[in-house]
Symmetry: C2
Subunit: 364 residues, 2 copies
Amino acid sequence: MLKIIKPTLLLNEYSCRKNIQFMTDKARANNIVLRPHFKTHQSIEIGRWFREFGIDKITVSSIDMAKYFAGDGWNDITIAFPANIREAEEINELAEKINLNLLVESVETVALLSIKLKFPVNVFIKIDTDYGRTGIHYTDIELIDKVVGEIKYSDKINLSGFLTHAGHTYKALSRENVSNIHRQSIERLNLLRKKYTSEAGILIVSVGDTPGCTLEDNFEGVDEIRPGNFVFYDVMQYEKNVCASEEIAVCLACPVVAVHKKRREIITYGGAVHLSKDYLADNNNNPYFGLVVKLGDNAWSAPLKDCYVKSLSQEHGVLKMSEREIKNIKPGDLIGVLPVHSCLTANLMKEYRTPEGKIITMMR
Amino acid sequence: MLKIIKPTLLLNEYSCRKNIQFMTDKARANNIVLRPHFKTHQSIEIGRWFREFGIDKITVSSIDMAKYFAGDGWNDITIAFPANIREAEEINELAEKINLNLLVESVETVALLSIKLKFPVNVFIKIDTDYGRTGIHYTDIELIDKVVGEIKYSDKINLSGFLTHAGHTYKALSRENVSNIHRQSIERLNLLRKKYTSEAGILIVSVGDTPGCTLEDNFEGVDEIRPGNFVFYDVMQYEKNVCASEEIAVCLACPVVAVHKKRREIITYGGAVHLSKDYLADNNNNPYFGLVVKLGDNAWSAPLKDCYVKSLSQEHGVLKMSEREIKNIKPGDLIGVLPVHSCLTANLMKEYRTPEGKIITMMR
């Protein structure tokens, strides 16, 4: 085992590569493009693992992230976030160098981009297929018409197609429910594609949420998928039966600093500034912030029964332990926590370590 | 106004200095030591503002933070977190240079420290006065006896006194409730001080939560206070009537990237990786993640009525706006968000900007 003295984000390279292989195989079998979302890992080194599987197009969530990956030779990048015209200068810098794809959802943004762009970009119209976060609602044909029209006026902006993030699969209560959302989203985008192809030419349909892309096998009508979280998965996906526990590829190793045997709780060095405060609700609707595993020399165990992260302060974790597990724990031991939301945990930790001791850096 | 192109943490230096002055004045008036917790701001520059008010002793929450501030000449530092014996080497490095105060709450940790320490440290016994996070419960005299006994065996460990964090003031439902917790905590520590003074010599009573230290005026029986959040305050403190809205000294400036007039929502570039996912519950028990303000040239407004952060994704904020405020907002505008928990927001942003354009750095 590594010498771990403080909270450390362990990465199981083997599981991670298997997750990458699973999704690249699925995309290939369905003859669709996998444009993985790199906001989850934010690491050039992990990006290179994707390259080994033939990936050459990626998704990111910010201009800074696009710059970071462009610096490692990625030259076809979609920024899957409504274009922020305040960053027009940075957009131009990128658009000069790479094939840059932006998301638009308003006439105002397209008009402002038109004025400020010095180099051509592709845009997707962001469509809301009922997730309800952002994008133009798929039924708002009046607005879609206007945006398509505004794009046509610009000689710098090329319409690539329609894109959605069906994030409501995360709230789906059953596998069947995920399937329905997945199919519905695809159908809604295809209706738009059909409507606008004659005036706008070839249009791409891009979808991509980890639950849908992991669980579904029918990608008819889809050109590209953009899942991100699958590279690591996490407790959120595990609790929704999207992944098995052994497919979760990251784990926070935490020093135990106090043991409260009577109330079956231990205190870890490993808190909100390490895991993030994202949470899930248990059967009694109480929040919990991670599951607990034992750390071995080269791997970690399955989640320990009846053990979970009960609360988080800035640096403290409060872990509820089972009668069985509390017995032999003492201050100075190490314990592992599987994160509820691996994207946010990785974003906070800024670095991974493999059990073999390799350090994998991230964007800073 | 500054040229802001992406989420930027604004710091109102005037309010911040006033907050510092308020607490230093209160400590002086009560003839107690203010040992402010620097985990909130994590900034050498803001630390220097405290120095201008005569502060020379500080609290931090990790060894890394202690090293960072020791590097700027702070030489009396309490690490208000149960001592992590896995960091013994780092503890020794610090203890060689500065007056280092650690927290202990178990015989095991004291015994291991005894073996590993090469330089003297002071320790406080961390007492749980009913917050229920960590520390030895104030009624567990058997364990306190053992820890005091173990400390006596060591020639490197000096017992400084008893310390608590009465974090349950954050859950108090009324001002009276805060007062009761404050007084009770102090009394409980003083009973311990009385019990152990004859065998252990002069013992310090150290308390320190922002609600108690801000609202209370009776510090009889207290030697030092360690509040931290008061340097910025936040929506959590504001909603508990601990501070006024104009005393909140930080605000996240966010570009508006989409406007959904019908449902009165705007999308900001400013999400969970900027604000953190800490939340409060509204009157209907729905979570919210911040309050909304207008940004002026040198300041920001009071919280806008009926406007709040409804949800956060990794980079997206979804802000519910009032009928009145939604009217004139368009993509490309800037809007301000007062954070629910300023410590976690600052920790994510890693840098402040004053409206005058000064950049204030933080620990990285």
